[in-house]
């Protein structure tokens, strides 16, 4: 087990290094640069002289040879220092870390809703004896996936905020402002969870053990909650990474539509301005989140499924 963990940690370090390096290369391959974006900001009308541009680049250390820039940034990044944002002048790590709580609040709440919606639909759709109702319920996830999130968000705001005035349309103040963005984000995420869970529940339902349990007279719901769910949960858990990715990507849209602060907004403006320190801080953080979630899934799955545990020990 210890060797297994050590291997996983090395693997994680490699993923983080690769994320850092690839983002560095891409940002430098793109035409334009952060200093140009900063000096030519909007209404200023782009009237910067070449001398001014050169002076500004020197100030941000962007005139060093690329390998040297890469080396300097990597050494600092290992210590958690990604440098200062070129656009805002704020510390990049600080910008990303302070944008994390509002994003986590929405994504966390959205994940809870998604599990409730998705899980509920999958269970109800497979528990029910009425084939038609089941089919109708199980048609919902594909529908949920295909609704554009920003459209769902705008509709929710229009109805619940502008018309009924039940919740605020803007800002990240308190629980009230979490509801609509979380629902918006929960629709596609819940759809993914519902789809995968329903499929594995149906597969489990056709397994001999389930048929025997039913033949012995156990109720459908009892069979579901007593036997099927635990077995069906494993494949659903393995898509946690996909779900996380979906939540992070969706947060760009929900944060824009609902005028919230968060990682999505920070990322989109940093990418637009080619603000290298901030983009790298975001990418490395996102990679870290993925690595940790996948590691957790790999550690939890054996607890649910003894067969996986045996395989692990056989490997180790």
């Amino acid at each position: 087990m210890r060797r297994y963990l050590l291997g996983r940690v090395l693997q994680a370090a490699f993923v983080l290094w690769a994320a850092f390096t690839v983002s560095f290369v891409i940002l430098y391959l793109l035409p334009g640069d952060a200093v140009g974006a900063k000096l030519g900001g909007g209404e200023a009308g782009l009237s910067v002289t070449p001398e001014q541009l050169a002076a500004a680049k020197a100030e941000y250390g962007l005139d060093d040879p690329l390998p040297l820039q890469y080396g300097k940034r990597l050494v600092a990044a290992v210590q958690g220092d990604f440098g200062r944002s070129i656009a805002t002048g704020d510390d990049a790590t600080n910008m990303v870390v302070s944008a994390l709580p509002p994003t986590l609040a929405v994504t966390g709440f959205a994940l809870v809703l998604a599990i409730l919606f998705g899980g509920g639909i999958a269970i109800a759709g497979t528990v029910t004896r009425y084939r038609r109702l089941g089919d109708l319920l199980l048609a919902l996830p594909p529908l949920g996936i295909s609704l554009p999130p920003f459209w769902v968000g705008l509709l929710l705001i229009q109805f619940f905020s502008f018309q009924l005035k039940l919740v605020p349309a803007l800002g990240s103040n308190g629980f009230e402002s979490l509801i609509l963005p979380a629902i918006t984000l929960a629709v596609p995420t819940g759809a993914i969870i519902g789809q995968v869970l329903a499929k594995s529940l149906r597969t489990q339902l056709a397994e001999p053990y389930a048929e025997i349990a039913l033949a012995k007279g156990a109720s459908r719901s009892r069979v579901h909650f007593g036997h099927l769910l635990r077995n069906a949960a494993v494949p659903s858990l393995t898509i946690a990474g996909v779900v996380t990715g979906n939540l992070i990507a969706g947060s760009v849209i929900t944060e824009t539509v609902f005028s919230r602060d968060g990682l999505g907004r920070v990322t989109s403006s940093a990418v637009t301005a080619q603000d290298i320190p901030v983009v790298q801080a975001v990418i490395v953080l996102a990679a870290l989140v993925f690595v940790v979630i996948n590691l957790l899934v790999d550690l939890v799955c054996p607890l649910l499924d003894p067969r996986i545990r045996h395989r692990e020990t056989a490997d180790a």
Binding site: E43, A55, R84, W151, F162, T256, S259, V266
Partner: protein, 535 residues
């Protein structure tokens, strides 16, 4: 369904709803006398990366920064004249290289220190030291030699060459004065509001990126500009700038009274706020209008007749009437109508496809395949580089493209990010550039066209433009400046160095409870006289 289509649909729904529910509320006019107190909740479209007015030149930043700092002078939006503010009087030497300002008594910064000659010198030296980090100030102070403290109330600001433009620049928030203590913080810290100590009617309170910026009334403020609507303190206790990027959400939040006022109302949303208790203040931006700026060393644009044909082949009223709204004016010169010394050259900018065709024919450009003219096998085509600093840029250029096809000219549109546009502009590797620049002084033409400055047209040394551009920058005397500025505007259009199209306009909207939201001379927000009722 495209994103804009959805937004429009939502806007339409909102429109129907507001139209049905509007009970003809009162307009701002009969609101009675201004009432102090309350908070103005103002929805803005983008998060200003930096709120230090000395550094960043975007509207988002300056609309905040203007309230925090006072300037030596103020500019009358109606006449363009320069009026007293922190300076009660000034003298300018004969060749406009030395400006001596006499400061008023009693003004203090929000940390209690006095606005005296030493503070002014410290501030100007610091802006100069910012270099290119001062996006607009570095241009205003390009030939700054230094400031001398003559006595505690008098400063002498000097330049190495004539700089008539400095008088107007001294009225901008980019050259607004910060306290000496402000410079004990780094430029980056000031960007985030830390140490941003001004003498303005509002003081910085808090900033949450992508969320909101809050300013609070400066108690005891009593040194307002001579152009302000009242004297003493501002009316509002607080201004809360809420950052709302999605236009449909901005308009809906205003319609449902979650905001008191909003900026950047999109053309599609404008009808929502006409005549139902809402007001739409507008002001065109002074400076260089949105234009196709030609590089005369590239491709078909080396041919002056081609450049002149493009100027004649654009139907400007069609652009403003179809893609924009009646709030936007067709260009009548390279300078916007709100710029001092703007000359109305409408006859030169009339839509004249016959004239354009005649010019092209006479230059040997004959009808070719797909309706595009050719000459010796060369197609009549040029690329235009633009970025989305203004949301409608793409739609405008697509329409201009269609208009120019009718005279057999193929305009190819290339969208780039702001960062890329800067790089392309620097490299000189472009045919047409599409941009606008805000400045309430004709000297902006020198900055962009002169061979001694940015020379965006890549003109040779012997050109008809440098002389009038230098002439207008060497004196503040209107009698001499006006004819020089007019000559420059005329030359730019007659030689087709640029094809002006339309004037950028600031379109705001506010509900029945917001009053007195104004624009200063550069069309940025001036909220000193703003107040809210019934809050």
């Amino acid at each position: 369904m495209s994103r804009t289509a959805v937004t429009s649909l939502i806007a339409l729904t909102a429109l129907v709803v507001t139209a049905c529910s509007s009970a003809g509320g009162s307009t701002g006019a009969d609101a009675g006398p201004p009432k102090p107190g309350g908070t103005l909740r103002l929805g803005i479209s983008s998060s200003p990366d930096c709120v230090d007015p000395q550094q960043v030149g975007t509207n988002a930043s300056l609309n905040v920064g203007r309230q925090l700092v006072d300037s030596l002078t103020d500019q009358d939006p109606a006449t363009g004249e320069i009026k007293p503010w922190l300076a009660e009087q000034w003298e300018i030497n004969a060749d406009s290289t030395a400006f001596t300002f006499r400061l008023r008594d009693g003004a203090t910064f929000s940390d209690g220190s006095p606005v005296d000659a030493v503070a002014v010198k410290t501030s100007f030296d610091a802006i100069k030291a910012l270099g290119p980090k001062s996006q607009l100030g570095s241009g205003y102070l390009a030939v700054y030699k230094g400031t001398t403290v003559v006595d505690p109330k008098t400063v002498k600001i000097e330049f190495s060459v004539p700089s008539a433009q400095f008088l107007q620049a001294s009225s901008t928030m980019s050259l607004g004065v910060l306290a000496p203590a402000a410079y004990r913080k780094t430029a980056d810290q000031r960007c985030q509001g830390d140490g941003l100590i001004g003498s303005g009617p509002f003081a910085f309170e808090s900033l949450k990126q992508n969320q909101e910026i809050v300013l609070a009334k400066r108690k005891g403020y009593d040194w307002g500009s001579s152009l302000f609507g009242h004297q003493g303190e501002a009316y509002l206790d607080k201004i809360a700038y809420k950052i709302v990027p999605e236009p449909g959400v901005r308009t809906g939040s205003l319609a449902s009274a979650q905001l008191d006022a909003i900026t950047d109302v999109q053309p599609v949303d404008e009808p929502q706020f006409t005549g139902n208790g809402f007001t739409e203040p507008i002001r065109p931006n002074p400076g260089v209008v949105f234009n196709l700026h030609a590089n005369v060393t590239k491709g078909v644009l080396t041919d002056e007749k081609v450049r002149q044909a493009v100027v004649k082949g654009i139907n400007r009223p069609e652009v403003t009437n179809t893609v924009l709204t009646p709030n936007y004016k067709p260009a009548t010169s390279i300078l916007g109508s709100a710029t001092p010394f703007h000359t109305d050259l409408s006859p030169l900018l009339a839509y004249d496809p016959a004239g354009a065709t005649a010019l092209l024919e006479s230059a040997g450009w004959l009808p070719g395949p797909e309706g595009i003219r050719t000459k010796n096998g060369q197609r009549l085509t040029a690329k235009v580089v633009f970025s989305l600093v203004f949301n409608q840029n793409k739609s405008v250029l697509e329409l201009v493209q269609q208009q120019l096809r009718k005279i057999g000219f193929d305009l190819r549109i290339e969208q780039r990010t702001t960062a890329e546009s800067v790089q392309i502009t620097q490299s000189g590797n472009y045919e047409y550039l599409w941009y606008n620049t805000t400045r309430a002084d004709p000297d902006i033409l020198r900055n962009l066209f002169s061979t001694k400055a940015n020379n965006r047209s890549k003109l040779p040394a012997d050109n008809p433009l440098d002389a009038p551009l230098d002439a207008q920058s060497s004196t503040v005397d209107p009698a001499k400046r006006k004819p020089a500025a007019e000559e420059a505007q005329r030359a730019i259009i007659e030689h087709g160095y640029s094809a002006p199209v339309f004037e950028l306009t600031q379109v705001l909207a506010h509900g029945p409870n917001a009053h007195g939201i104004g624009f200063e001379a550069s069309s940025r927000l001036q909220l000193f006289d703003a107040w809210v009722s019934g809050s």
